[in-house]
């Protein structure tokens, strides 16, 4: 059974009187432990699909089932709790909180879980250790390079040990070297820590790191060249 099941999903947006169809009857299955790259031109619906899988947005019709939970049946607090437990999100622009240190940024998702302050700090330290930033705990985002910021963001995404990692153009704002390091890290998280990863990218080199590459164009999904 697939970990992620997207069933006949349609997503439309209303812009004034006009209705825009972003995803049109899309279906997709992602197995546990898979590493999938979603490619396609801008506006093709890649981020929308990622948001639907992450429970950040709701489909206009159809079902999104992750780990046996149908997300279309969840609302508000339930959905927020589900996200906290099951999803790690990595943004293109890192989206770290600028007034928090690296350690505090990674601790942030753990504030939603009942645990002692020490336990929280230990887990955050461990996550930063995994991404190779054990010596940057007290640094603020402005004191880190882009690659280091993205590593902190990855540590924040994995600290609560989620089932699925969703990465939206994780190397889009990085130079080639830093981007390659991030991809190696994602590869390691997939292989060593068995994380299921769905990554949106424009970069064919980045997509090559994935087990499977899918192309999305005008809301329709197709298998890319393997």
């Amino acid at each position: 059974m697939a970990l992620v099941e997207v069933k006949n999903v349609r997503k439309t947006y209303r812009r004034e009187a006009e209705e825009l169809t972003v995803l049109d009857g899309l279906s997709l299955e992602i197995a546990e432990g898979d590493f999938v790259a979603l490619m396609g031109p801008s506006g093709s619906g890649k981020t929308t699909l990622l948001n639907l899988i992450g429970g950040v947005d709701q489909p206009s019709s159809g079902d999104v089932v992750v780990g046996g939970t149908n997300l279309t049946g969840l609302r508000g607090k339930q959905l927020a709790r589900w996200r906290a437990r099951n999803i790690g999100y990595i943004f293109q622009l890192y989206n770290l909180i600028p007034v928090l240190t690296a350690l505090q940024n990674v601790e942030l998702p753990l504030l939603l879980v009942k645990m002692s302050g020490k336990e929280r700090r230990d887990r955050a330290r461990h996550a930063l250790d995994i991404v190779g930033l054990e010596d940057r705990l007290k640094h603020f985002p402005r004191q880190l390079s882009g690659g280091q910021e993205q590593r902190v963001a990855i540590a924040r995404a994995v600290v609560s040990d989620p089932t699925v990692l969703l990465a939206d153009e994780p190397t889009g704002d990085l130079d080639r070297k830093a981007g390659a390091d991030i991809l190696t890290l994602l590869d390691r998280l997939n292989k060593e820590f068995k994380k299921t990863i769905v990554m949106v990218t424009h970069d064919p080199t980045a997509a090559e790191r994935a087990h499977r590459r899918l192309h999305l164009d005008k809301g329709v999904l197709s298998n890319g060249p393997s």
Binding site: N51, G54, V56, D57, G76, K77, A80, R81, R83, A84, R85, I87, Y89, F91, Q92, L93, N95, I97, P98, V99, L100, Q104, E107, L108, P109, L111, L112, G117, R120, R156, S160
Partner: protein, 397 residues
């Protein structure tokens, strides 16, 4: 890190803005509590008057005198235990005309009527032993036996750095000439609302030197045997002189004092309105600040929600942030008002009791600060919590 430390860290994000907002709330609550203090003080000046005493004055106005001959007849009114009288003197310090304090010429049984409100804390011994009238504090013996002696309030005594036995000159304004008084006793006000910046001297001295012995008094004070009879006594007294050349107007001492406060007209109302207007203005300032602070962080709230923070938690975080700023500033402002206003010891040259900011006023100030916090944070907190994640994230991406 905890949710509270997250709030504190966010407050430190733009320190200048946080400090200025807290300061604006501080100033507003300081003003509010100080203005409430003025109102409280005005009210306290009414409370000094007793319901067990009546004041009889000329029906036309307080500035017109009454004949001294009324005293004996007033004593015959059922329910009246004793009758005393006084005149307003209204002199000035001959050296410093702006240095004003109240002076009263009083009958010898006047101070005993106020025995429960004042106590003699310093006094001279009489040079010649003499009898003290019944009911008069023996500590006032020197005062009673000397024509130009006076009793002064402790606060006035200290402010003027007088000494017992010192001769004090006063320039008369209603009764012209330079008058001299010898300080023979000092009183302390047991009732905090009682004026402690007044001078009391012998009515006889004023009558002989200033009024040519015409026997006129400013007002009578009637001590009642039963405060419950105040209404009946009032009517009886005024009926006695209804058709005379000097008709009387009798009222309780408290109502008499309230008459002075009513001379301020709408000032207390204006003070109250100004206080509320200041608070409302600051509410808008604080709300605007919180709106700006949350608008800047729209994307961050989107990120936090993506991480699993629910709408309620985001709502509470913003609300607590607003409350911490306004509560901190407000509580400090209210406490500062109490310290500064009471520390200044201002009493309008003795015309009012010393200015006070009651603890109840401080608490009201703190409560208002909390309400400002809640009100100013409500809209931004609601907006931050209700914005869809995808819309919030789109702010930067």
């Amino acid at each position: 890190m905890s949710l509270l430390s997250l709030v504190l860290v966010n407050l430190g994000r733009n320190k200048r803005r946080t400090i200025l907002t807290a300061l604006s709330v501080l100033v507003a609550l300081f003003l509010f509590c100080a203005l409430r203090g003025v109102l409280d003080t005005l009210e306290a000046s009414i409370r000094v008057g007793s319901e067990a005493r009546l004041v009889t004055r000329n029906a036309i106005s307080l500035i017109f005198p009454l004949p001294l001959s009324y005293q004996e007849r007033l004593l015959t009114v059922p329910g009246v235990r004793s009758v005393s009288y006084a005149n307003w003197f209204g002199g000035r310090d001959p050296v410093d005309q702006s240095n004003f304090y109240a002076q009263f010429a009083v009958a010898e049984n006047y101070l005993p009527i106020y025995a429960s409100d004042i106590e003699i804390v310093a006094f001279d011994r009489p040079q010649v032993a003499g009898a003290v009238p019944p009911g008069v504090d023996p500590k006032l013996a020197a005062f009673m036996n000397e024509r130009d002696a006076c009793v002064v309030g402790e606060r006035l005594f200290n402010r003027m750095k007088w000494k017992l036995g010192q001769t004090v000159p006063v320039s008369g304004t209603i009764f012209p000439g330079t008058w001299t008084f010898t300080v023979r006793a000092v009183y302390h006000a047991k009732n905090p609302a009682m004026n402690e910046e007044a001078m009391f001297f012998h009515w006889k001295y004023l009558s002989e030197k200033g009024m040519g012995g015409q026997g006129q008094v400013g007002w009578y004070v009637l001590e009642l045997s039963d405060p419950g009879q105040a209404g009946a006594v009032t009517r009886a007294v005024d009926a006695l002189y209804a058709n005379s050349a000097a008709a009387t107007h009798t009222e309780t001492e408290r109502a008499f004092q309230a008459g002075f406060v009513s001379m301020y007209g709408n000032v207390p109302f204006l003070i109250g309105v100004i206080g509320l207007a200041v608070v409302f203005a600051i509410l808008l300032v604080a709300a605007n600040t919180m709106m700006m602070a949350t608008r800047e962080r729209t994307a961050e709230f989107g990120v936090m929600k993506t991480l699993g923070f629910d709408d309620g938690t985001i709502f509470r975080l913003v609300l607590v942030e607003a409350a911490v700023i306004t509560f901190g500033g407000g509580a400090l402002g209210a406490l500062l008002a109490k310290l500064v206003i009471e520390g200044s010891d201002f009493n309008a040259m003795g015309l009012l009791p010393p200015m006070t900011v009651r603890w109840a006023t401080v608490l009201v100030g703190v409560a208002i600060a909390v309400v400002i916090g809640a009100a100013s944070g409500l809209v931004p907190a609601w907006q931050a919590s209700q914005r869809r994640i995808v819309d919030a994230l789109r702010r930067v991406e």
